[in-house]
């Protein structure tokens, strides 16, 4: 124990003695780990939020298809789908995009007779109330929409519909900023109003949400596929399952962070090369020292151990600093530049909070990739130095 303590102390002294090597390795590793962790934390946050949305999405979404393109689906399919085995609820929905205030917003019309809606529930509202089934022209808007249009609860909002007719709505509630990641760009209204807004015929809706009975997870997948197969017999229909959406979401966020990952891998390779180079330089400078150490009884293993402890400490310090910078950059500064890329057009909305998830997995992975390459980059040069005869090492260093 005492031997290891001495080696540890010696390694700590070496870190301070070879300042240029320490500074170069630390700067490179801190920058690379900070960039990586910052992107990974946002990616994890977005994926978590996406998964949370998916958790509450219907088991199946039925959409209309014509000439291979998405179209509104016929409402008459509702009865047929309802009769499919294990289907517990079939709910029509109208939604789409609207260019309001020079920004693309999402207008959603929900069927207020939907049994999955609980009016007694606590909705994430900053002010006002949720939609009232008895009030036709009331809307609940996201925090971002309220800021964009400068409206509050009770204000009258006049919007041009898709048929270019002005339509008046009363803002009955505003969703809070905590739910902004889901509701920031949303104008929520009842199904009838949304039909008028998008000028949809009475017999069509944007899509149909299908809920299948809750059984254990192992059987549910097979049951959902069975129902999907049954519904897909309907003409001009396309069925999308929750599982497919999950795969699509993971692919989309993975692709975005993938761009950064590639850049990061390049940085990591550069760091490993720099670390290797610095160790070789330090190895040359410390030849006399190594010769002296071996002359007073240090073994080859002791010297390699000292260098490995040095690298372990350097990697840990760099990882910790890089992660702390990443956390500060995301959580306190709001990840400028990185957020623009990861959030797409959402950066148009004011006061948008970036979801950040500092997962233990990402933290441990960051430490692994700051420590392991450094250990590999150190071990060969230190072994080459440590195996030289002490007399030759000291003479060589003086020469």
């Amino acid at each position: 124990m005492s031997r290891f303590k001495n080696l540890f102390n010696y390694a700590l002294n070496c870190i301070q003695r070879y300042r240029i090597r320490t500074a170069v390795v630390l700067i490179c590793l801190v920058v690379s780990s900070a960039v990586f962790s910052s992107v990974a934390f946002i990616e994890d946050g977005l994926t978590n939020e996406g998964e949370l949305s998916l958790k509450y999405s219907p088991d199946l979404t039925v959409q209309g298809v014509e000439s291979g393109r998405l179209t509104p689906v016929e409402l008459r399919y509702l009865g047929y789908i309802q009769e499919a085995p294990s289907v517990t609820a079939v709910v029509p929905r109208i939604w789409g995009y609207a260019n309001i205030g020079n920004t693309l917003l999402v207008v959603v019309g929900i069927d207020l007779s939907n049994p999955t809606i609980n009016f007694a529930a606590d909705y994430p509202l900053e002010s006002g109330t949720f939609l009232n089934p008895e009030s036709n022209n009331s809307v609940v808007i996201g925090r971002g929409v309220a800021s964009l249009l400068g409206v509050g609860v009770g204000d009258v909002l006049t919007i041009l519909t898709e048929s270019n007719q002005p339509r008046t709505y009363i803002v009955s509630g505003i969703f809070n900023s905590e739910s902004s990641i889901y509701s920031g760009d949303m104008i929520l209204m009842n199904l009838k109003e949304a039909r008028t807004f998008f000028n949809l015929p009475e017999d069509k809706v944007t899509d149909i949400m299908v809920y299948v009975s809750n059984i254990d997870a192992a059987q549910k997948g097979a049951l959902v596929n069975l129902v999907a197969r049954e519904i897909s017999d309907l003409p001009n229909c396309r069925v999308v399952t929750k599982n497919l959406l999950l795969q699509a979401q993971e692919a989309a966020y993975g692709d975005r962070s993938g761009f950064f990952s590639v850049v990061w891998y390049v940085i990591l390779i550069a760091v490993a090369i720099i670390a290797f180079n610095q160790t070789v330089v330090v190895g040359h400078e410390s030849k006399f020292e190594i010769g002296l150490l071996k002359a007073v009884g240090f073994s080859t293993t002791d010297i390699i151990q000292v260098r490995l402890v040095e690298s372990l400490l350097l990697g840990t310090i760099a990882g910790a600093v890089g992660l702390a910078v990443g956390i500060f950059y995301d959580s306190v500064l709001g990840a400028p530049m990185v957020a623009d890329f990861m959030m797409g057009w959402a950066t148009l909305y004011p006061n948008f909070t970036i979801p950040v998830a500092i997962s233990l997995q990402t933290v441990l992975f960051t430490f692994t990739i700051t420590i392991v390459p450094l250990l590999f980059a150190t071990v060969i040069p230190s072994w080459l130095n440590a195996t030289v005869d002490p007399d030759i090492a000291m003479r060589g260093a003086r020469a």
Binding site: G68, L70, V106, L245, A357
Partner: protein
């Protein structure tokens, strides 16, 4: 152990505590959020989040997520979504028929 070494180790310890503490808090906060009922998401049922309209993560279930850009150009439409949903594990209806093994 010298004063410098002690300071270095203490600073590293504090940084590690900050990092792992933040991670623990974040994990707890997400776990609470995921276990809490979300009435808004349940009522609306849109599977996505308010990120990236017209970008790869638009809210349209399935299609717009994977088909940015090519949208309406002839032949450039996301063909793998036209006859059915590609990764689904069931046989989708099509306009093909088989009679006595001859199509």
């Amino acid at each position: 152990m010298t004063m410098r070494n002690t300071t270095l180790l203490l600073t590293t310890g504090v940084l590690l505590a900050i990092v792992f503490g933040s991670s623990l808090l974040s994990e707890m906060s997400w776990s609470t959020k995921q276990s809490r009922s979300d009435s808004l998401r349940q009522a609306v049922g849109l599977p996505s989040i308010a990120v990236g309209n017209l970008n790869p993560m638009a809210r349209n279930p399935g299609l717009e997520m994977l088909c940015p850009g090519l949208y309406d150009s002839p032949g450039g439409y996301c063909y793998y979504f036209t006859a059915g949903t590609y990764p689904l594990n069931f046989t989708i209806n099509s306009n093909e028929t088989a009679t006595d093994g001859i199509k």
